[in-house]
């Protein structure tokens, strides 16, 4: 039925370093554009398409966009913050960890009755009139809503219901960010992430719209993705709502791309620039988790940060520290190759006993990393072991991770899974475990309609 598909190009755009590449389905570089640092990503993409890849159809465009910060006040959205958790979770009010200045950026803040227990039982019935009242207070005063429910990862019912009530009051033009859209254990982390996402929604929309306009001009059938902080992809329609998720994309994309340029599946990657060196690891398409949560503008979010070591050039003993960081990253895995990229790559000496790989097109690493980026889905939450026992939870966690990877755009036939990491919880009155699992795989290509003909 389907003839072997014609090659379809994957385009990667590095919006930080102003590089764009087109890669064919075999991973070969087909076209390259090197712009000047500071060129907007849309212009870099435009220049690449004018250069040539127009001859083959483009399946997707994956872009690394510069991090958005609250400091970009011009496009900052006003946010209404609602927590569904009274009376159980009111001890620390919303925006508690924020500086007074930042907290002032928000619109109305409220806590209403509702939320669930750790095992998903209703802790208090949702106070729907209070939610509607909150929405009415927000009308005309906010551009976005951040809504977080207690234990909403376990049972998102109240969050969804409250979101529907708010959407009914405010209409579809005011986006509602839900805390449970972020896979994080803590209520405050989820809430902070939702507030930040909501505050950045306008700025994100401007960036993505610019880019997607350029994509529509040159490759109307191509799908647009952004690179996440962990180097995997985020569909552009989700990216509007999750500006925090693509923080750190420049490094995430670079780590994968450098290994790809060096032709290895896993590697220690060093990027050496004029100001600093960054040492990171990529293992089979995933960046090892640092176990820390990313802080944005001094606010703790629910995003997990990859394990990276940053050494500033002004630090004393720069070279020695870099080599030490490499040794630490290898951590006994002696077979891991070392890949060095960046404009000052030659200044990093080979670590003892191993010849570092210095790929020729090192400056394209992040763009290539974007072009070949995979889709991943992660689960990290506490599973209450009900009647099904432990195995049941593991299966559920795996399904959730697979679904998340599929939503991100992965091809279900080519998904790989990490082993499920399990941490038993001993301080809760029922058997429970924190399960972590990630599924990752290449993106599902769009159908070749010409090959569909009977």
């Amino acid at each position: 039925m389907t003839t072997p598909a014609r090659t379809r190009l994957r385009v990667g755009v590095d919006g930080v370093r102003a590089r764009a590449v087109a890669v064919d389905s075999g991973g070969r570089l087909v076209a390259v554009h090197r712009g000047r640092r500071g060129d907007p990503p849309a212009r870099v993409l435009d220049a690449l398409f004018r250069r040539g890849p127009g001859m083959a159809p483009t399946d997707r465009v994956v872009a690394v966009l510069p991090d958005l910060t609250l400091a970009e006040s011009a496009q900052r959205a006003r946010v209404g913050v609602l927590r569904v958790g009274a009376p159980a979770a009111t001890a620390v009010p919303p925006l508690a960890g924020w500086t007074a200045e930042r907290a002032a950026l928000a619109g109305p803040v409220a806590m209403v009755r509702g939320g669930h227990e750790y095992d998903g039982r209703v802790s208090a019935p949702l106070d729907v009139p209070a939610v509607a009242e909150f929405a009415r207070t927000c009308a005309g005063k906010v551009d976005a809503i951040a809504l977080t429910g207690v234990n909403a990862l376990e049972n998102p019912e109240h969050e969804q219901l409250a979101a529907a009530v708010i959407a009914d009051e405010l209409g579809p033009d005011v986006p509602v960010m839900r805390g449970a859209e972020t896979e994080a254990l803590g209520l405050l982390e989820r809430e902070n992430t939702a507030v930040l996402d909501a505050a950045l929604v306008s700025a994100a929309r401007v960036r993505i719209d610019e880019l997607s306009a350029a994509v529509r001009v040159h490759a109307p059938d191509a799908a647009l993705y952004l690179v996440r902080g962990d180097g995997t992809v985020l569909p552009s329609l989700d990216a509007y709502r999750h500006a925090t998720a693509w923080r750190g994309a420049a490094l995430g994309g670079l780590l994968h791309g450098a290994a790809r340029l060096a032709g290895v599946p896993s590697a220690i990657v060093v990027e050496a620039t004029a100001g600093r060196a960054v040492v990171g690891t990529t293992l089979g398409g995933l960046l090892p988790d640092s176990g820390l949560q990313r802080e944005i503008d001094g606010i703790r979010t629910g995003l997990r940060a990859p394990r990276l070591t940053v050494i500033h050039r002004r630090d004393a003993g720069f070279t020695g520290k870099v080599l030490a960081a490499i040794a630490r990253a290898r951590g006994g895995r002696d077979e891991l190759p070392v890949v060095v990229v960046g404009e000052r790559a030659e200044e990093v000496p080979d670590p003892s006993g191993i010849a570092a790989i210095r790929p020729g097109d090192g400056d394209l690493a992040a763009a290539v990393g974007a072009a070949v980026a995979e889709a991943a889905g992660s689960v990290d939450r506490i599973f209450w072991q009900g009647t099904g026992g432990g195995q049941d939870s593991v299966t559920r966690a795996r399904m959730l991770a697979l679904d998340a990877a599929l939503r991100a755009g992965a091809d279900p036939r080519k998904l790989r899974e990490t082993p499920v990491r399990e941490a038993l919880m001993t301080y809760v009155p029922v058997p429970a475990a924190r399960l972590q699992v990630t599924a990752v795989g290449p993106l599902l290509e769009s159908a070749d309609v010409a090959a569909v003909e009977p």
């Binding site: 039925m1 059938d221 399904m399 599929l406 309609v449 009977p454």
Partner: protein, 533 residues
């Protein structure tokens, strides 16, 4: 493709689903469908065979469900041919529809869904599309066991069998019966030449947005098509589902051909009866037998009174025109103009007569001539290329008067033929000179002499251009300019041709006798005369 297969687009066109909507992935409607299954969970999708269509019940998955995106991705990856699921009052997110487009996976929304019912309805068409076609064929065979009573019965019956609009058109692409929209759809698509061509076969033509199947109705299997049946094909009628429709239409065409042939035989018999009766009357004008009178009266013929006969002839007919049907058309056109008569077929055309009580009523032939003229013109307009002419006899009394008037009409029609005008009608009484000419034209030896006189011109120019120029020149009182205008050529061309004619002719055009003889000959030549003797 080894085995015949249907696609989802065809299945939907069959109308088995009530109120459905294609929400996305339209490009995939052409994918072959191998099997239709009831879906239970979305993760099961990845285990389905490529080419499956999965139907979800409202409890399993609705279109606005968040999991729909995953279902589409799984289905796209597994090479499915479509997802059918229930709609909810909430709108289907644009993202979901785009996703379906991206994977060319048809996403069908229905209001009311019973997955088992959908599967049961689709299954026969998916498993054995040929068997599904037998229903149509069986229905057609039953309905067309007897020939349809008329064209309307044919179109309504066929339309009910196929569930599609049907029209009947004639060989010149004119609407006869059925759905006028199908005829309008055809427009100028099949030209009159195609429809009237010598080897008519069933064809499918693209008319605007739809395909139209054209099936010829042939009375003579080796002959021309007398009618065409036009059926607007539904989108599903392709490949294996088209064949039953074609066969059903062919059955209907055959059945209708039987009706047309039967009709023709009946009309033929009637005409023969009339023409025998007229012969009897003409042969024994003074003493028609009692039987003859009775039969004439039965036909509504009046033997007493003053009769004015009219003879109509075909001077030129294109091959597509059925001469046997022209009589009926003429009768119709005459009736519309207040001349209610029965045409009788004769060897040299058709004869009819009108009867008045008194000579005075019959004396003024003006109105009758005018009516016959417009009736002929109307028939000619219906058939491009057809030329008719008619002669009107004088009014004569009694049974014998019919014959006398008919004789005069025959002489008048000879005159009408020489004028070469469209719808020419001549009255025998109009000018007495005409009578003189009619006598002359009617004489075979004289016409032979005329042909001999012009033979050198015919030999030199078989196209007849010289003879036509000569006739025109003489008709125009030797004015080269007037003749040139009439012939559509320059005056000098006429002069040049006349020089040539003068050289070739064995006669001297300056001599009045020769000139008259040549003029008569030029008017009489190449008209096929019936010898009045």
């Amino acid at each position: 493709m080894a085995s015949p297969s249907v696609n989802l687009g065809q299945l939907l066109d069959l109308g088995l689903l009530k109120r459905y909507e294609v929400l996305g992935g339209e490009a995939g409607l052409r994918r072959p469908v191998r099997v239709v299954v009831v879906g239970s969970t979305i993760h099961e999708i990845s285990e389905l065979a490529a080419g499956s269509v999965v139907v979800f019940g409202r409890e399993q998955l609705t279109l606005d469900d968040l999991a729909m995106d995953i279902a589409i991705r799984l289905a796209g990856s597994a090479g499915l041919s479509g997802i059918i699921a229930a709609r909810t009052p909430r709108q289907v997110p644009l993202v979901t529809r785009r996703l379906a487009d991206r994977f060319a996976l048809p996403l069908i929304g229905v209001d009311d869904i019973a997955p088992a019912g959908v599967v049961a309805a689709f299954d026969p068409y998916v498993r054995a599309p040929e068997i599904a076609g037998l229903r149509v064929l069986g229905d057609a065979a039953r309905r067309f066991q007897r020939p349809p009573a008329n064209a309307n019965a044919l179109t309504s019956s066929l339309s009910a069998t196929l569930g599609e609009p049907v029209a009947l058109i004639d060989a010149e692409s004119r609407f006869v019966a059925g759905d006028p929209e199908v005829h309008a759809l055809l427009g100028t698509c099949p030209t009159a030449e195609e429809l009237g061509g010598p080897h008519p076969v069933a064809v499918t033509v693209r008319a605007g947005e739809a395909d139209v199947l054209l099936q010829p109705v042939q009375v003579d299997p080796a002959g021309l098509a007398v009618y065409w049946i036009a059926v607007r094909l539904p989108g599903s009628a392709a490949g294996v589902l088209l064949e039953p429709i074609r066969r059903a239409v062919a059955i209907a065409a055959l059945s209708f051909a039987v009706h047309v042939a039967g009709d023709a035989v009946r009309v033929e018999r009637e005409h023969r009866r009339r023409s025998l009766l007229l012969n009897e009357i003409l042969e024994q004008p003074d003493d028609p037998g009692r039987r003859t009178v009775e039969r004439a009266t039965a036909l509504g013929w009046r033997l007493a009174g003053w009769h004015t006969a009219v003879q109509v002839q075909v001077s030129h007919a294109p091959s597509a025109v059925r001469l046997s049907a022209l009589g009926a058309e003429l009768e119709e056109q005459l009736a519309e103009r207040g001349v209610t008569v029965t045409l009788v077929e004769r060897a040299e055309g058709w004869v009819f007569w009108s009867t008045a009580e008194a000579e005075a009523d019959a004396a003024d032939p003006g109105p009758l001539t005018k009516r016959v003229n417009t009736a002929l013109a109307a028939v000619e307009a219906e058939h491009p290329g057809l030329r008719l002419c008619a002669g009107v006899g004088g009014a004569h009394a009694g049974t014998a008067g019919i014959g006398r008037s008919a004789d005069q009409a025959r002489q008048a029609v000879l005159l009408a033929r020489t004028t070469r005008r469209p719808a020419a009608v001549e009255h025998i009484d109009a000018v007495s000179a005409r009578r003189l000419l009619a006598g002359w034209y009617g004489s075979a030896p004289l016409r032979g002499a005329a042909a001999d006189l012009l033979a050198p011109l015919q030999d030199a120019d078989p196209s007849g251009e010289l003879v036509r120029t000569l006739r025109c020149y003489l008709d125009c009182q030797s004015s080269a300019k007037a003749a040139g205008d009439l012939l559509g050529v320059h005056r000098n061309t006429v002069m040049q041709r006349m020089d040539r004619v003068t050289q070739l002719l064995p006669a001297d055009l300056d001599d009045p006798d020769d000139r008259l003889a040549v003029h008569l000959a030029a008017r009489a030549v190449d008209v096929q005369w019936e010898d009045p003797a």
